[in-house]
């Protein structure tokens, strides 16, 4: 089985690449920093038996996307799973202080991510089907004070992924929307972990299982499904008062 991961050298992408490598997948690592991807490739070659290749892909430069999809499916090569974990992150305070950074985040996390998904959709359907697994976030489930702008990008993405799954699953394109809660990675380092914070390895194992089963929506760690169910049903006057 061949799995391609955009954002493979960091955080949950790194953890997922390791899980898939240890079960023997061939891997394609995509990301901005090719040197860093090569270091991850070395790590994965020791861990797994499959091949590991590297393709440069920057979520901020959509002009490069056609070349990326071409390299990914070069010569009619089959890709079984395409996973996108890459995204920008910023705290609400940071993004409010820097509107340009906010625009870059919204562009990369929403418009550019959807463009990659659209290009992948065409290629995956052309090869007869495949799985597209994209990391959204619980931050997109409700308008909350600490994640207003970041959450907006993820709300839009979750929305798109649900529609994609409804429209194309029958044709063989399985879309998986992963909504991680707080996971202790480099992205969240420095933030105070809330209760129910998850470890990347455990999240990666759950995501890998969701890919195997074609689960359309995954909250991880699973307790976050319950947490978000409560939060989604809190009345507005309560949401206005709490800082969560």
């Amino acid at each position: 089985m061949k799995t391609a991961i955009l954002g493979a050298s960091k955080g949950m992408g790194r953890a997922l690449a390791r899980v898939r490598a240890e079960r023997g997948d061939d891997l394609i690592l995509l990301g901005r920093d090719v040197d860093d991807l090569e270091r991850s490739a070395a790590d994965l070659r020791v861990r797994g038996r499959g091949t590991v290749t590297v393709i440069a892909c920057d979520l901020d430069t959509p002009d490069g996307f056609p070349a990326v999809t071409e390299a990914l499916f070069a010569g009619g090569a089959r890709v079984d799973n395409l996973v996108i974990t890459a995204a920008h992150f910023g705290t609400q305070d940071e993004l409010e202080a820097d509107p340009v950074r906010a625009r870059r985040l919204l562009t990369a996390n929403l418009a550019n991510t959807i463009e990659i998904c659209e290009r992948a959709r065409v290629a995956l359907l052309a090869q007869g089907g495949g799985t597209l697994c994209v990391f959204s976030s619980v931050a997109g489930d409700r308008g909350r004070k600490p994640v207003g702008i970041y959450g907006a990008s993820k709300a839009g993405l979750s929305h798109y992924l649900e529609a994609l799954d409804h429209k194309w699953r029958a044709a063989g394109l399985i879309t998986i929307c992963v909504k991680p809660g707080f996971v202790k990675t480099g992205m969240t380092a420095g933030l105070k972990p809330p209760p129910f914070a998850g470890e990347p390895d455990a999240v990666a194992r759950q995501v890998s299982r969701a890919i195997d089963r074609g689960t359309p929506l995954l909250y991880t760690p699973p307790i976050w499904q319950l947490v978000m169910l409560v939060i989604q049903h809190l009345p507005r006057f309560v949401m206005r008062r709490i800082s969560f």
Binding site: K10, R14, R39, A42, D43, V46, R47, G186, A189, G190
Partner: protein
């Protein structure tokens, strides 16, 4: 990136200090501003704790990639935060093991170098640093350099056992060893007193790659220093089970023991039980490597056993020059002090570590836990006075309470280490609470 918030940071002994800790996957970038790198925090005292509440530490555990492994030579390169248990999980099934391992596998490569850790095979294989071929480091001056026994050897041997004070370790290359099977052939026997114990260790040394013992540290008189002597070697495939030894499920110590749980009676009972649990005078057979090397790893957060106030470990080496009687006199002192330790570990050391501050030297090493209570400082002072008298020294990785003047008396190598720090960190940007306490007490008072 903004400065991480100040919070309480502690080592394995739970002695805690306020400071700032940054976690990063990219050590090279993140090490520019940090005062010290730390890994999994298994050193007992203040070796990896912040010098001041404003001090910024770099936690390396997210930088955990294997950057290369050569199945022909066994050479492995890993990022500093790569943990030993992960290396073993991946490579033991393929017939490889670390050349030297401490009593826990929840340690990082960077920490293993900084402490120049030793293990049950010290009498044959020396310290971990003896098996390291290359380090990649960020110096306090900002430079990123590589060093090894043949390249910038002065920096290398100052860093091995240098407690992270000569630069941030970014990558470590060392040689793994081939093992015939992942199982251990072990012989263990009850030993009646300290003299037979030392004789047993010495006699086992030449033929057994791994030796150590547990001592009952409350019984005095003719039973002084009685305990269980263990020796082991890797099992041959013909005598070992074909399956891979399953790592025991880790149970978590769910809460802190109340401080009264640890009292002379419970300690005494534990020591006596441990001795007599080994009912047969002698046992031999195939055992799991996990129980053999890492008996305490089976209990996650076992350090809570000593209560919220935490504990420290006292580990010293009594040199051969101190003679046979030194260990007996040490244990007599220990029994007199009340011996509030659950067991103590004894091991004979081989050649002196080559790192400027490496702990081991030829002689007998004794390690014991001491709960942090009002009397602990006095006990450590008394033990230190004895160790100084006998020409021994203590292990920095375990230490919380040693006084700077005592440490100076144990460490004739201190001046050479100080000179190395002056060369590689002229502005003294790298520091820990321990370095301020033991190596630079004067500057601390000025500040």
């Amino acid at each position: 990136m903004s400065l991480p918030a100040s919070r309480s940071i502690s080592g394995w002994g739970l002695f805690a200090l306020p400071g700032r800790e940054r976690q990063s996957e990219e050590l090279e970038a993140a090490s520019e501003t940090a005062e010290l790198s730390r890994g999994l925090g298994r050193s007992y005292g203040d070796s990896s704790l912040p010098a001041t509440p404003e001090s910024e530490l770099l936690c390396t555990t997210l930088a955990d990639r294997i950057l290369g492994f050569d199945e022909a030579s066994g050479l492995l390169t890993g990022e500093a935060g790569l943990a030993l248990h992960e290396i073993h999980r991946l490579l033991m099934p393929r017939g490889w093991f670390a050349p030297v391992t401490p009593g826990t596998q929840f340690v990082t490569l960077g920490g293993m170098v900084a402490s120049d850790i030793h293990g049950k095979n010290h009498h044959k294989e020396g310290c971990f640093g003896d098996h390291v071929t290359r380090l990649r480091m960020r110096l306090a001056t900002g430079e990123v350099v590589t060093c090894g026994p043949d390249e910038r050897a002065d920096l290398f041997w100052a860093t091995v056992g240098g407690m992270g004070l000569t630069g941030h370790i970014l990558e470590v290359t060392f040689r793994m060893v081939r093992i015939p099977s992942p199982w251990i052939y072990q012989e263990s026997r009850r030993v009646p007193d300290i003299e037979s114990f030392i004789a047993g260790l010495k006699e086992s040394g030449p033929d057994w790659p791994m030796t150590m013992g547990w001592i009952d540290c409350v019984s005095g008189g003719s039973a002084l220093g009685r305990g269980i002597l263990m020796r082991g070697r890797w099992a041959e495939p013909s005598e070992a089970p074909a399956r891979f030894p399953a790592m025991p499920p880790r149970v978590t110590m769910p809460f802190f023991f109340p401080s009264w749980a640890l009292n002379p009676l419970s300690v005494r009972a534990f020591n006596i039980l441990f001795y007599w649990k080994h009912l047969a005078r002698e046992k031999r057979g195939i055992v799991s490597p996990w129980g053999f090397f890492y008996p305490l790893d089976a209990i996650h957060l076992w350090n809570r056993m000593y209560g919220r106030r935490g504990f420290t470990q006292y580990q010293c080496v009594l040199p051969e020059s101190a003679g046979q009687g030194a260990a007996r006199r040490f244990l007599e002192l220990l029994v007199k002090l009340g011996g509030a330790s659950f067991l103590c570990v004894i091991k004979d050391c081989g050649a002196e570590g080559r790192g400027l501050l490496s702990f081991p030297k030829p002689g007998i090493s004794i390690a014991l836990d001491l709960p942090l209570r009002d009397w602990t400082q006095r006990a450590v002072n008394e033990l230190n006075a004895f160790v100084i008298e006998e020409g021994g020294r203590i292990y920095l990785t375990k230490d919380t309470l040693t006084l700077p003047e005592d440490f100076a008396k144990m460490e004739p190598r201190l001046a050479a280490f100080d000179e190395a720090r002056r060369r590689f960190d002229p502005e003294r940007r790298l520091r820990s609470h321990q370095s301020e306490r033991l190596l630079d007490p004067a500057t601390k008072e000025e500040a």
